[in-house]
């Protein structure tokens, strides 16, 4: 432990630079090693607090995430993308729900809790959650929502979450890639070892894209982190002082 900190300090002071920016890459957190954990019923257990790569733009690739550089837009999707300007309305800046993809995209951690019947995302971003039945029941029908309606099933040791019935008020990522109410997401979770989740998300939206496309990511177990409260509304000065605008949605 002493050596760990000493090396960090010496390296930073020697370079005399912005400490954390250049420290990235010098210090790599190593999660605990071990075999894939399982629940008492023998299913892969995804429980834990997970560090996720920040993905503000799903066309980019980076550490622990692979994007798709050229999205296969339909003419409608292309037009939606070209006309988007967050300065005209930024729903996450206004503390409205991020929706499924942007919640997973955030740099804040998420906790997963799991039973034989349910898989629960506990997102630190704005303290939101999404509970997914994984016991084989069909999709619910009803009013479309920000996070959509999710159900899950197992394909061997891979848990597959299928989400639809979105309200169309969200964006896929921070930079603003669009989707329609026809959005259908498929999220695949596998856990090759104790410390990692291999994650794949497929975006299927025939109104916006000519074919389904994917992002893949690696999540890292953080037993040293605890989830923290996150009130988006508490001090959202940027909205109150008019630098961020609430989008105008059709009613």
């Amino acid at each position: 432990m002493k050596k760990y900190f000493a090396v960090s300090l010496v390296a930073a002071l020697a370079m005399g630079v912005v400490v954390p920016l250049l420290a990235a890459g010098q210090q790599e957190f190593r999660p605990p090693a071990g075999p894939t954990p399982r629940t008492p019923s023998g299913k892969v257990d995804f429980s834990g607090v997970w560090q996720k790569p920040y993905v503000p733009d799903m066309t980019k690739s980076g550490k622990d995430q692979q994007g798709l550089a050229e999205l296969p837009f339909t003419p409608w999707g292309e037009a939606e993308w070209k006309k988007y300007d967050a300065a005209e309305g930024d729903y996450t800046g206004a503390c409205l729900p991020f929706g499924m993809t942007r919640s997973v995209n955030t740099p804040e951690p998420m906790q997963i809790m799991q039973s034989d019947r349910y898989f629960a995302f506990l997102f630190e971003q704005n303290s939101w959650f999404a509970v997914v039945p994984i016991d084989g029941r069909p999709h619910r029908t009803g009013i479309p929502t920000w996070f959509g309606d999710s159900v899950g099933h197992w394909e061997g040791d891979t848990l597959v979450l299928d989400t639809s019935n979105f309200n169309g008020k969200t964006r896929l990522d921070t930079i603003g890639h669009p989707h329609s109410t026809e959005l259908h997401l498929i999220q695949r979770f596998s856990r090759p070892d104790l410390g990692h989740i291999s994650y794949e998300i497929t975006v299927d939206d025939p109104k916006t894209f000519t074919r389904p496309w994917k992002n893949t990511r690696t999540f890292t177990l953080r037993p040293d982190w605890e989830m923290m409260e996150y009130s988006c509304e508490e001090n959202n000065k940027s909205l109150w002082e008019g630098r961020i605008k609430v989008p105008k949605y059709p009613k």
Binding site: K2, Y4, F5, S8, L9, A12, V17, V18, V19, P20, L21, A23, A24, G25, Q26, Q27, E28, F29, Q51, Y54, P56, D57, W81, K82, A86, A87, D90, T92, G93, C95, R102, N105, T106, P107, E108, E124, Q125, N126, D173, T174, I175, G176, R222, W225, M228, E229, Y230, S231, C232, E234, N235, N236, K237, S238, E241, G242, R243, I244, K245
Partner: protein, 136 residues
């Protein structure tokens, strides 16, 4: 190992793990083409989600005090990066490197803060989403 040594170590280690904020679109509020360096005196630190805000008095070229405000990262992220509510205190002399808000107010998005002890630390900027390339 003394406390100060531990704190600096925590800053370094944590920073490698949690660099950014995803709360809002950076491009909606700030202009990445307008960098600013503010050297002044901290008057207040607001430690609350979704972003911390640092208030500082800065002397302009004519020597008169101007009141500035700069957005940093979320307290949660900054805590994991080693920040505390006492990392910046009123009367601290700091230098903030950031970018200006689009609305022309004395508002900035802080990328780095140079602390009174000379260390420059990352402020958890929301600038992970650079403005998109021009659309044809």
């Amino acid at each position: 190992m003394n406390t100060q040594f531990l704190m600096i170590g925590a800053l370094l280690v944590g920073a490698a793990a949690q660099p950014l904020s995803g709360h809002h679109s950076f491009a909606a509020e700030f202009d990445a083409s307008k960098p600013v360096t503010l050297k002044g005196t901290v008057t207040k630190l607001e430690w609350a989600n979704p972003h911390i805000w640092v208030y500082l008095d800065v002397k302009d070229e004519q020597g008169s005090l101007q009141h500035w405000q700069c957005e940093g990262g979320p307290p949660n992220t900054l805590t994991r990066n080693g920040w505390t509510t006492n990392s910046l205190k009123p009367s601290d002399q700091v230098t903030i490197d950031g970018v200006l808000a689009k609305d022309g107010s004395k508002t900035c998005n802080a990328r780095t803060v140079k602390l009174p002890d000379g260390r420059s630390v990352f402020a958890g900027s929301s600038g992970g989403d650079n403005p998109p390339p021009p659309k044809p």
